[in-house]
Amino acid sequence: MSAVDIAGVAKTYGPVAVLDHVSIDFEAGRFTSLLGPSGSGKTTLLRIVAGFVIPDLGTVRIRGEDVTAMPVWKRDIGIVFQSYALFPHMSVMGNVVFGLNRRGIRGAEARRRAAEALETVRLTGFDDRRPKQLSGGQQQRVALARAIVTRPKVLLLDEPLSALDRRLRQEMQVELLRIQRESGLTTIFVTHDQEEALTLSDRIAILDKGRIIQQGEPSAIYERPRTRFAASFLGDANFLSGTVVRGAVRVGNVTVRCDGALPADGTTVTLAVRPERMAMVALGDGHGDGGNAVMGVVHTVTYAGAVTTYRLDGPGGLALRVFVQNRDGTRFAPGSEVRLQWSPADTVCLED
């Protein structure tokens, strides 16, 4: 069952179409990320689910009920903002019981449930502190406890980790994942951080210019991106442009095969290959195993501990990038001529 159902939602501000007839289902109990650059409409979509923004067109359903015209305070949602938005004049406990009080749950029962939520986010013993007496990470935990304590129909997270520094962010990612799995709350997470989206999500929807470019499981999108944008926004990719000739793609004077379906002969297409799927061998070594291969000259070498990134000049001046695991100590120096080999299974024909 879908917990949240968005159908044909459009929103324009003046001449700008922020959302262009977007439809998407959010499955119950799942963690879905809305991933896109700023201006892609991801935050507007979240605010439409919350009820802060009323769409020009389309409907919003929560658990089957049409809530398009329902005000925020009746929707039974939980939201965590990037700025935390904790009530500064209330204690931690005051913040967390706020939503319970609004639902008529007061006194000892409210405090018991609030304490439970604070335990879930692992922030006990701070009940009487004011938000400004807490660190950024602790404030984030309070905001999360405040949002989940009412067991909302949907939990909305608006870039909640962006204000934290790198280490704390990674720590909170793990926490967020645990809390979401434990609570089983349907969660919509807005982010521009691809790594965050990959790590946390059951599903990802990639947005660009007010449209959903692709949605699915993180691995499905990573393995089979549909467009150039999806391929480069989620992970890195090498792009090879060529023409379809007899079931393969002619890139310069090299023929590249791909496992997926190809359009008709003569069509110009772009192929995407992930940099870690290309293997590098010295020019004389090994021979074609039926896979794809191009020659290249190493341009720059960037050593980063676990992997080394090679930038190469491919055929026809094509710029390529290859990630190689540092396992056996084989390294190529700039200027080396090498052969890049990869499987047709790792070659994706894009739609644009």
Binding site: A50, F52, P71, V72, W73, R75, D76, I77, G78, I79, F81, S83, A85, L86, F87, P88, H89, F98, G99, R102, R103, P131, K132, R146, A147, T150, L156
Partner: protein, 260 residues
């Protein structure tokens, strides 16, 4: 260099406080002619307690300042909320229009009010003074509360609404408490503006019913007595407390925002 700087600051602060300090000291001096050494006495304050005219004026001052502060704070806060949260054409114009009255000389405002109040039948008296003082202090209230509104995150109300608050409940449970510091500071400021106001009060006072600054001025014209020092010392004390409370409150507010 450092001692030189501190020395200079002492000169500046001394320049600010010397006349006032002398006046305060002399309010405790037995000699009415500023003769030294000081002979300590509470005589002038005792005499002040018998001076019905000054005491009446003092009561009027407190009444006018209190009513002014209440009216200006309520009206100014409402205006600041409309300006801060509203989205409408001409908002910027309203914001700009609030500023010039603060720069118009009081003498001119006083004259304009006197003429207008006479023409419109409002007349003179405490009610006219209150109207005048409200007009003087309103822009300050709008400015002070407006700054408070700007530093308050709009997400706070959104968070409250997501938790089940209606907009009205969110306003009273979250926004208003968040603004309380600015509102109290603005009220104190309005009170101080009214309490210290002379020019406009002088123009709008009905003969026989007046406020302390105006009464002090007329007393001096009739002949200086050390009672004036005494009452001025009291007035000064009240003003200082107000200004320091204002500074403390607005400082508290900004410090709290910095840490967020």
């Amino acid at each position: 260099m450092r001692t030189l700087g501190i020395g200079w600051l002492m000169v500046v602060v001394g320049f600010l406080y010397l006349p006032i300090s002398v006046m305060m000291l002399m309010s405790f001096n037995a000699s009415p002619f500023y003769t030294l050494p000081i002979e300590w006495t509470g005589h002038w304050f005792a005499q002040l307690a018998q001076n019905e005219r000054l005491l009446d004026a003092g009561r009027n001052s407190l009444l006018v300042a209190t009513v002014t502060a209440v009216i200006a704070t309520i009206c100014g806060t409402t205006a600041a909320l409309v300006l801060g949260r509203g989205t409408f054409r001409g908002k910027r114009l309203f914001q700009i229009l609030l500023l010039p009255p603060m720069a118009i000389p009081w003498l001119i405002i006083g004259t304009a009010m006197l003429v207008f109040f006479h023409w419109s039948g409002i007349g003179r008296g405490l009610h006219a003074m209150i109207l005048g003082h409200v007009a003087l202090s309103l822009p300050y209230v709008v400015l002070v509360v407006g700054t408070g509104i700007q530093t308050l995150k709009p997400e706070l109300e959104e968070a409250a609404m997501s938790l089940g608050s209606t907009p009205a409940h969110a306003f009273f449970a979250v926004t208003l408490p968040g603004l309380m510091q600015s509102i109290i500071a603005a009220g104190l400021f309005a009170f101080a503006v009214s309490l210290d106001q002379f020019v406009v009060s002088y123009f709008l006072a009905k003969p026989g019913v007046t406020t302390l600054p105006v009464e002090i001025y007329s007393s001096i014209r009739k002949g200086f007595t050390p009672e004036i020092n005494a009452i001025s010392t009291l007035l000064l004390g009240v003003s200082m407390v107000l200004v320091l409370a204002f500074a403390w409150l607005s400082n508290l507010g900004s410090a709290a925002h910095e840490r967020r």
